[in-house]
Subunit: 216 residues, 2 copies
Amino acid sequence: MIEETPKIPQATSKRLPLYYRFLQNFANANKERISSSELSEAMKIDAATIRRDFSHFGALGRKGYGYDVRYLVEFFRKALDEGEETDVALVGVGNLGSAFLKYNFHKNHNTRIVLAFDPKGTAEGKMISGIPVYHPDVLKEKIAEYGIDLVILTVPSKVAQEVTNDLAQVGVKGILNFTPVRLAAPDSVRVHTIDLSVELQTLIYFTKNDEKASHM
Amino acid sequence: MIEETPKIPQATSKRLPLYYRFLQNFANANKERISSSELSEAMKIDAATIRRDFSHFGALGRKGYGYDVRYLVEFFRKALDEGEETDVALVGVGNLGSAFLKYNFHKNHNTRIVLAFDPKGTAEGKMISGIPVYHPDVLKEKIAEYGIDLVILTVPSKVAQEVTNDLAQVGVKGILNFTPVRLAAPDSVRVHTIDLSVELQTLIYFTKNDEKASHM
DNA sequence: AATTGTGAAACACTTCACAGCC
DNA sequence: GGCTGTGAAGTGTTTCACAATT
């Protein structure tokens, strides 16, 4: 069996959604072709990095011409599996959680929160912002029932690990963790943590020690 | 003039707030000394990385003993400037913005949102969740008046760049950008972007292509 | 003439492995 | 004996610079 994309570097993978968004914008502006240097200018990523990133997926461009915008959009759509809508569960409907419920990634055509859990929910699913909110007691069965792979975790720190264990047990594949807890999880679960206090403190540290400013 | 910390690697800097939090926990649990391997176990960061990180700040530990927890906490408190409260402004009080207002980093003793801006605010400052919310018309003068260095940006994409220009003009040093826009800013402003859709899509991509799971 | 795709160099970060010190 | 601090090796990422191609 031929492996088309033997190993995409992590750094490259993290940039794919960004490439996809920018290319969509260019496509919407009816731009037909684009060079790595034009993209570089718009995205503030070095042109050589862009070419190297793209090259991991094979020869997507044409020498002396650049890249076909439509083709690239289509290519990345598939690579990112943007065709399929991904259903997501939200666990913890506090301040941050309800902001996510209301927002529900409208802009983001492929991701949708379809159910939530919170102690103020019920076994039957009390509707909040149009999404059923269940009581944590039925978490495992509902996650399984909805076939959820991805969870956004916005619970209080003290229950984060416990909830994670339950989620791992019912086969959840990815957790976007907004809790400051360093979650322990089996290899079957990918955890990505966004710790808002840490982000703020890091920014404070960098500005106080005023190194060269930049996106990170 | 002696430069004590000639160059702290970016990767190390980003871990400092995390070290600080864990060390505080150990201090609160009345732990006197700690070895890099104990910390490693708790934080899931390689022990050699921890020792290397600490060593950038000089010889903080003692061979054959480990590190004095209290001393380290105190050291990092100073390094992170945790003594001083940092006042922060919030620009854009939508779903995400109001979640931050309500949350206001209670847990986080050194960061506090002290004012906010939104079209639904007034020139005099309408109170929301105990914080004055001003109209964007008075943004520049109020930022200057409060002496704000740090801003959390949760405005709609279309005005993000414009607001950033204003902020840069009145001397803001750091922006925590929750907008999907790649902001252009002068070197005097450090921008750190957290793009929630990108985070979700990246997680989807990683789980679909199921590489080794991990914190990132 | 323009622009890709890529070897090779440069850089950044992590990890190994151990001398040196407590 | 235990544990740090660090040279050196290893790994991952970015950038340079240019031959190849349209």
